[in-house]
């Protein structure tokens, strides 16, 4: 086969003379490639690219499993022992997310810091953008570290406008003065690029440095020595864990290793794989469509190709001529696709689940790889949609058709076209069913009984300073006053203080024991522990289904009370009255259990996830808590106006009461629900967009094939009209043919869906992957669209003039 330049020049000229055909073909393939390139660019940045750390494949993170089986965080004694006893790590570090309050630079602000020990920067292989990073000597595993900090590039830009004189300046964090010694490069950080700054853990007060069972959010990570496999490392850490347990006791937690990339990429892998698969489906449909267009175009070229054959062109020459046209379309489509991808990748990133870490999103860039991908896919597609018609064409007897002068009635070609359309319909159906299942999931999620009413609730974090938190009067006084003032803001119906908000990704657990059960680690049940003001249930709309809520008389000194949730009531007292029973989950200063009386049962609240009821949750009145929670309390306002309208007044009230208290996370409770649905929403949006493209392409395919069939069957249509067929009958005849193809496609698609939607099941909620409602609605919808697509050619068929077509010879 020869590919002469002449063939390509000829193909370009031929396409320019048929602008509509060229535009449809190039546009179809171009948009499919745009979708593929965009998704690939995202996929490449998030999944395929190594993390932006030196030799990232040697980085691992350490999960900690408590003897009870629950995942917990790394305690400092375990950190020390695991670091010292292992033989596989080259370097080792740990860090805990730490919310801090920045003062002295405008209004008080909440910022996110990583409190670090060991050698995090060396382990990750990070280099400073400015100044220097923190050394292992500055990050000791005990109190007494220097007050130095490294700030992120983003924080530097935001607070210092990128000025280089930032080095040596100081920041007041939680009332301590830290000196800035360095700035990180853009888009890196741990565990998130969005982390504001890094401080030595040894600068924080009152940490349980020597409590082996403590768990306050520390995560360990390390760099494996070169040549050490993950397997070897796992074995070694298992040995280390057992050794430490042998020395420190059976309730010592054990380490489990995971690659850092797995930890950071996390759950977004499944949805991204899925979306990548979906977009490949769209490409397949586009290829089938362009293949169909080219078959039709081959029809036009019959005479020309026959003449070429008669003049001595070999079949391979004819094939290469046809392929040249396919390649020209493919390359133009590839360039168009890469261009559109370049413009749209930003927008698609906005549609991605919020769960995709910013660290990875920063790696998503349209690059040469994207362009190579686009052109590679384009050429592959070109071969597919070019070869099929080329070989079909080359197989037919060109010279014979010239002699007879008859129009070819190549049944095979029509069958091939129909088969392509059936395939398109099947693929489109699979995609539409997938998006239908997701839409239904979203609907279920939206309507799930969350146990609270998120509408018209404004929430905010209002942490107080250490001094205020130092005394009971200080923190209770402030929050009581704040709550009272907030409750009388115009448009506010009620105001409550609470330690936890549902779906905020923040929790506090305690070990629970009911009365009569000995308080030992073995009998512990972990419960979600919330500290609330009496107005909490009313404000959040959590129904009290038995007993009573808290009142202002549940004070210090009065009878200690608790409210439990339905789950706990059922689990502990399945057939009995839960009210009046005693439970304990706290200890007093002398470590003896503090018992409380159950006075009410609240509806289960979806706390961790929207899809599952919370584990056991208990509520304690905030005037009766032994711990001072002033660093982490939230305020919630139920409003009669749109919640955001109360935001300004809330800020004013807080600032008036204490200007050192930063108001952050100011958002309607709805936001938390939206965020919990974020992954589903985003997958649904993208899948639906792909499904809609698939539907449009399939409709175009049906339109093309039916137009072609109508043209080819003018004579038959003419006869039918002459025999008395009216417009309705002709339309019915054409649409029935389209429906037959569609039905076949739908049937294939249903079978394929049954096989494929199982892959979605992890993302569905209360919807089975073969949900009959979705299957039925989508099938019917697709059939309706197919009917519509066939209607235009059918209308054209009614205008066939029997006098003209029947007088043609043949």
């Amino acid at each position: 086969m020869r590919f002469s330049l002449k063939n390509f020049r000829y193909a370009v000229r031929a396409l320019r003379r048929r602008p509509t055909y060229a535009a449809v073909a190039i546009g179809t393939i171009g948009l499919a490639i745009a979708a593929n390139t965009t998704m690939f660019t995202v996929f490449n940045g998030v999944i395929l690219q190594p993390l932006p750390f030196r030799d990232a494949d040697r980085l691992v993170t350490i999960d900690v499993r408590a003897h009870t089986g629950f995942p917990i965080s790394l305690s400092l004694p375990n950190y020390r022992d695991w670091r010292d006893k292992n033989r596989v790590f080259e370097s080792f570090a740990a860090g805990a997310d730490w919310g801090m309050t920045l003062t002295g630079r405008g209004p008080a602000q909440a910022i996110y810091a990583l409190a670090a020990v060991g050698d995090p920067f060396g382990t990750l292989g990070l280099r400073p953008h400015l100044g220097r990073l923190l050394t292992p000597e500055e990050l000791p595993d005990h109190e007494g570290a220097p007050f130095v900090t490294v700030i992120s590039h983003g924080f530097w830009q935001q607070h210092f406008g990128g000025q280089t004189d930032v080095l040596g300046q100081s920041l007041v964090l939680d009332d301590q003065v830290y000196t800035i010694v360095g700035v990180l490069p853009p888009d890196v950080g741990f565990p998130q690029a969005s982390m504001d700054l890094y401080v030595p853990m040894g600068t924080l007060p009152n940490l349980p440095w020597d409590v082996r069972s403590s768990s306050f959010g520390t995560r360990g990570f390390g760099r494996l020595a070169s040549g050490v496999s993950l397997e070897t490392a796992r074995e070694d850490m298992a040995r280390v864990g057992q050794e430490v347990r042998a020395e420190a006791g059976d309730d010592t937690a054990l380490p489990e290793l995971r690659t850092l990339s797995e930890f950071i990429v996390g759950d977004v892998k499944t949805p991204l794989n899925l979306l990548m698969g979906a977009v490949v489906f769209v490409l397949l449909i586009a290829v089938a469509n362009v293949g169909n267009l080219m078959l039709a175009r081959g029809e036009d070229r019959y005479r020309e190709l026959a003449v070429r054959g008669a003049l001595g062109a070999a079949k391979t020459d004819v094939v290469s001529l046809l392929l040249a046209e396919a390649f020209v379309i493919a390359i133009m489509g590839g360039l168009l696709g890469a261009g559109v991808a370049y413009l749209s990748v930003e927008a698609v990133m906005g549609l991605l689940p919020a769960q995709v870490p910013a660290l990875l999103l920063a790696q998503v860039k349209v690059s040469w790889t994207s362009l190579v991908f686009a052109l590679g896919v384009a050429l592959g597609a070109g071969v597919l949609f070019g070869l099929v018609p080329a070989f079909r064409m080359a197989r037919t007897d060109l010279v014979g058709s010239l002699k007879s002068g008859a129009r070819t009635t190549d049944q095979g070609r029509e069958r091939l076209r129909s088969a392509l359309v059936v395939g398109e319909v099947a693929i489109a159906l699979v995609l539409l069913i997938a998006s239908g299942l997701m839409l239904r999931t979203l609907d279920k999620l939206r309507n799930v009984d969350k146990g609270f009413n998120p509408e018209s609730v404004l929430t905010a974090s209002v942490p107080i300073s250490k001094e205020r938190n130092a005394t009971r009067e200080g923190w209770l006084g402030f929050y009581s006053e704040l709550r009272g003032e907030a409750a009388v803001i115009p448009g506010v119906r009620s105001a409550a203080m609470t330690l936890l908000l549902p779906l905020e990704d923040r929790s506090w657990e305690m070990g629970l024991h009911p009365e009569g059960v000995p308080v030992t680690p073995e009998t512990t049940q972990s419960v979600l522990y919330n500290v609330v003001s009496p107005e909490y249930f009313e404000t959040l709309g959590v129904p009290i289904i038995r007993g009573r809520g808290f009142t202002s008389s549940d004070r210090q000194g009065s009878n200690l009370v608790a409210i439990i949730d339905e789950t706990m009531a059922e689990r502990f007292w399945p057939d009995a009255e839960p009210l009046g029973h005693q439970i304990t989950f706290e200890t007093d200063s002398a470590s003896t259990p503090v018992y409380r009386t159950v006075v009410g049962v609240a509806r289960n609240v979806r706390h961790y996830e929207l899809t599952e009821p919370s584990r056991i949750q208990v509520y304690v009145p905030f005037e009766q808590t032994g711990v001072r929670w002033g660093m982490g309390l939230r305020i919630a306002l139920r409003t009669s106006v749109p919640p955001s309208q109360a935001a300004g007044s809330l800020r004013e009230v807080v600032t008036r009461l204490d200007p050192s208290v930063p108001v952050s996370r100011l958002q309607p409770l709805d936001n938390l629900v939206e965020r919990a649905m974020g992954q589903s929403t985003s997958i649904t949006r993208l899948l639906t967009a792909f499904g809609a493209s698939a539907l449009a392409l399939a409709a175009l395919g049906i339109f093309g094939v039916m137009s072609y069939a109508v043209t080819r069957r003018q004579r038959e249509i003419g006869i039918r009209i002459a025999l008395g067929a009216g417009a309705a009958e002709v339309i019915r005849w054409v649409t029935t043919r389209a429906l037959r193809l569609t039905a076949l496609g739908v049937m294939l698609g249903l079978v394929a869906s049954v096989a494929l939607t199982r892959m979605l099941s992890g993302l569905l909620y209360e919807v089975t992957p073969i949900d009959p409602v979705v299957f039925a609605i989508v099938s019917a919808g697709l059939a309706s669209v197919a009917l519509l697509a066939a209607y235009l050619p059918a209308r054209r068929a009614t205008r066939v003039d029997p006098v003209v077509v029947l007088s043609e010879e043949g």
Binding site: G718, R720, I721, L723, G724, V803, L806
Partner: protein, 229 residues
């Protein structure tokens, strides 16, 4: 039964118009067997299309059973066509993908005949034309004569008052041609009005009256010898 007055048909060509039918006046009585003759291009097929209401782009008046066809709405015209007209073509124009029986059923399917009745009519027709044995064959499996036989059968299956046959024997050998002509004659004797186009003098003689068309004009009967039976 049929009355044409001053029917003219023309096509735009270049800046002017070319006339295909000129000043056609024609009266056809119920039960007649009319032969239209004339050289190729004379307008014979055009005239049949107008009579069969397939072609409505003409001037002049066309009355069918005192209904003025030219004033009818397309829908009513189509209804009239279904009720009164059956077509036979030179190229048979059977539908390749349908069997003989299905081809016969086709006109009925367009005429709101209940399915039961349709089956009975098709069976009767197959019987009457002695093609029961061929009912499940496709047109391509039949000879030309058999195909035209089926085409005639299809034309009468809807029980039309008028059969318009445009060179029905044009593609047939003499024996087959005679068979078709005998068939048309018999239908005529049973009461169907037949209007046929032919180039064959022998077949023309089957009719009771011949109309000569020349360049769209009906030739003056006084100057053209009329053959009649």
């Amino acid at each position: 039964m049929i009355r044409l007055r001053g029917v003219e048909k023309s096509y735009p060509v270049g800046t002017g118009r070319v006339y295909v039918l000129r000043q056609v006046d024609l009266d056809i009585q119920n039960g007649e067997f009319i032969t239209i003759m004339g050289p190729s291009g004379a307008g014979k097929s055009t005239l049949l299309s107008i009579l069969g209401m397939l072609d409505n782009e003409y001037t002049g008046d066309y009355f069918l059973l005192d209904q003025s066809v030219h004033d009818l709405k397309p829908k009513d015209r189509a209804a009239l066509n279904k009720q009164y007209i059956g077509f036979v073509f030179q190229q048979y124009h059977l539908i390749d993908d349908l069997t003989v029986a299905e081809n016969l059923d086709l006109p009925l399917s367009y005429r709101d005949v209940p399915r039961r009745e349709r089956e009975a009519i098709v069976a009767d027709t197959l019987d009457r034309f002695q093609i029961v044995g061929k009912k499940d064959l496709y047109p391509s499996q039949l000879s030309g004569g058999q195909q035209q036989l089926v085409a005639v059968a299809r034309a009468v299956v809807g029980n039309p008052k008028v059969i318009l046959a445009d060179e029905p024997t044009g593609s047939l050998h003499t024996t087959h041609g005679r068979m078709i002509m005998d068939l048309l004659k018999r239908l005529n004797q049973e009461g169907t009005t037949i209007i046929q186009v032919t180039h064959n003098e022998e077949w023309a003689a089957y009719g009771n009256r011949t109309i000569q068309l020349l360049d769209g004009w009906i030739a003056d009967p006084a100057r053209v010898p009329v053959s009649s039976t």
